[in-house]
Structures are given as C-alpha cells and as structure tokens.
Amino acid sequence: MSDLMLWGIFLAAGLGTFAMRVSFIELYGRWRMPALLSRALIYVPASVLAALVLPAVVYPNGQGAFVLNNPQIPAAIIATFVAWKTRNTLLTLGLGMAALWAFKFIGA
C-alpha cells in the first residue's frame, strides 16, 4: 500500500473519530440520543473486539484456513484466563506470549 493511501486512511479515521468525540459536546441541547442507540452502543466494544480476536487466533496465517496444531489457541485460552482473573494488561500480554513460545517449542 502506498504512503499516500496510508495517510489517507489515517486522516479519514482520525477526522471521523474527532467528529464522534466532539459530536454531542457541539450539538448539546439540539439532539438527544435515542435510548435504543445508547443501549446498543454499550455492546459495540465487546462485540467488535471479540470479532477481531477470534479469527486472528483461529487462523494464524490470516488466510481463513484452519490449521491443526495451532499453538495460538491454547496460548489464547491461557491469556483469557489470566485476563479474567487478574484484569492486568501486562500479565495478560506477558503470560500469553510466554505460553505461545512454550507451545511452539513443544510442537517443534
């Protein structure tokens, strides 16, 4: 992808994000958010993040091909457990990576 294209993506995403951040502060009093929309927005992060994590773990080559003997799956299960128990970013990242290296080592 060309550099120009990259900067185009950055600008579009950045301006869009700014518009969302400033939206209601700018429009205050002129438009109220429908209740259903604000209820739905609560579930956006959980749904999008899960939709990003699962395919990235299950298909390690990014091609949508299922691979047997994929060390990412047990490593992700361990990381999930750590994140659930400790809520600690650093531990989740550290132990998840350590688990991946360990499973790769065993598998190789």
């Binding site: 950055f10 956006v44 749904s47 990576m97």
Partner: protein
C-alpha cells in the same frame, strides 16, 4: 494538576498497549514518522491496533477506515454523557479536549461529574488534566515502541501480541451476561464469516454481536420492573 495525579495510577495499563502498537507499526514496515503520524491523528489505541491488524491481513482501505470508526463509536456515547458539563466552554477548549477524549479520562471524570464532586468553574480543568496526562502517556509509550521496534526479531512471533492486547481489553469488560453474549456471538460470526469479501465478515459479526447484547439485555429485563431496568442501565454505564 489534580487531574494529572488522579490519572497516574492508570498509566501502567496503557504503556504495554502503546509499546506493542509502536513495535507492530515498525515491524509492518512503517517508517517512524508514519507510525507517529498515525498515533497523533488517531489518538485511539484500539482503533490503531485494529487498523494495523487489518493492514497486516491486507484489507481494503475503506474497510480499515470503517472498522476503526466502528471501534470508536463508543466515543459518541462518551461525548453525550460529558456534554452537559463541557458544552458551555468556548471552542478553543471543547475541540482540544474532545480530541483528547479517551476511555480512561472519561471513566475517571464521568464518575466525579455524576456524583456532583466535580462542579464549579474549574471542573473542566480537572477533566483536561486527566485527558492531557493520558494523551502524553500514550504518545510517549508508542514512541518508545517505535524506537524498540526494529530491534525485535521475527522469531518472537510478536504479531500475536495484537490479539492478546484485544483480549486484555475485552475480558475485563465482560461484566454481565449481555456483554458476554455480544462477545460470543460477535466472535463466532467473525470466525465463520472470515471468507466474506471486503472484510464484511467483521462488520456483520459486530452488528450480530450488538444485536445479541441488546436482545439478551431485554430478555433478562422482562421479569423485572421498570425501576430495576433503569437501575441496570445505570450499572452498565
């Protein structure tokens, strides 16, 4: 200054994300200028990592922008909830503090605004302090990652750190059954729909997950009275 101090304990949770983001950007062949430009323009860790992940898998530019914006839809919600406290300020205030709006500074301030602890003519200084401290912590940790980036060998399989970071964001946020349903449905659809063209699988999965969350919430609410329902809504915030 009070705001800066209140935010400090939250920075250790952010620094690893910043490091991973910086390292990944460099590993993917971005120049340090491009990587930092992206960080300054986005100022949104999860959207930035999503964009990197999608660039990595070769998604279309339009799909990348759309997905980053969907991830950031939550800011509309934050904006709505902070508006009563910030809308009266002039634009030279509201535009910069809007740009610096983050999950962390929102979480800190919304509690204090709501409890009435933060009122008066200087309340927005507290918010601005938390927002600026968060912004600085993020920019510096990405910069550190960018500097580290080139020295990390491929055999470390560091690209796995992106899904791990998402897990670290996702799992602590699953505090109730509807959000668990949203995550489960979103994840499953994404795995099944991975072959859909133009990265539509991700958009389909996100919408499916959100619908699952709202439906589960409604189903669980039915036996309860309306007062309970509105209390539950307060909790979810």
């Amino acid at each position: 200054m009070q705001g800066v101090r209140t935010l400090m304990p939250l920075t250790p949770g952010v620094i690893p994300f910043g490091l991973v983001t910086g390292v990944m950007a460099i590993e993917m062949g971005m120049s340090p200028t491009t990587a930092m430009g992206m960080t300054l323009i986005f100022y949104s860790g999860s959207a930035q990592m999503v964009a990197l992940q999608l660039l990595h898998s070769g998604a279309l530019p339009l799909a990348i922008v759309l997905t980053a914006l969907i991830i950031n839809l939550r800011f509309v919600m934050y904006s709505a909830s902070l508006a009563p406290h910030l809308h009266h300020l002039p634009r030279r205030w509201t535009w910069p503090v809007s740009y610096m709006l983050s999950d962390q500074s929102y979480a800190l301030c919304t509690l204090r605004f709501a409890s009435g602890e933060l009122t008066g003519p200087f309340a927005h200084w507290f918010y601005a302090g938390t927002a600026f401290a968060m912004w600085l912590a993020w920019q510096l940790s990405v910069l550190a990652g960018v500097c580290l980036g080139a020295s990390i060998p491929d055999t470390w399989s560091l690209s796995f750190a992106i899904p791990l970071s998402f897990l670290a964001l996702l799992i602590p946020g699953l505090r109730n059954v509807p959000s668990l349903a949203a995550a489960t449905v979103g994840g499953l659809i994404a795995v099944l729909a991975v072959k859909m063209p133009y990265n539509l699988g991700l958009v389909t999965a996100s919408i499916g997950g959100v619908v699952a969350g709202v439906v589960t919430e409604s189903l669980r609410k039915k036996p309860a009275s309306h007062e309970c329902a509105s209390a539950a809504e307060g909790d979810a915030q």
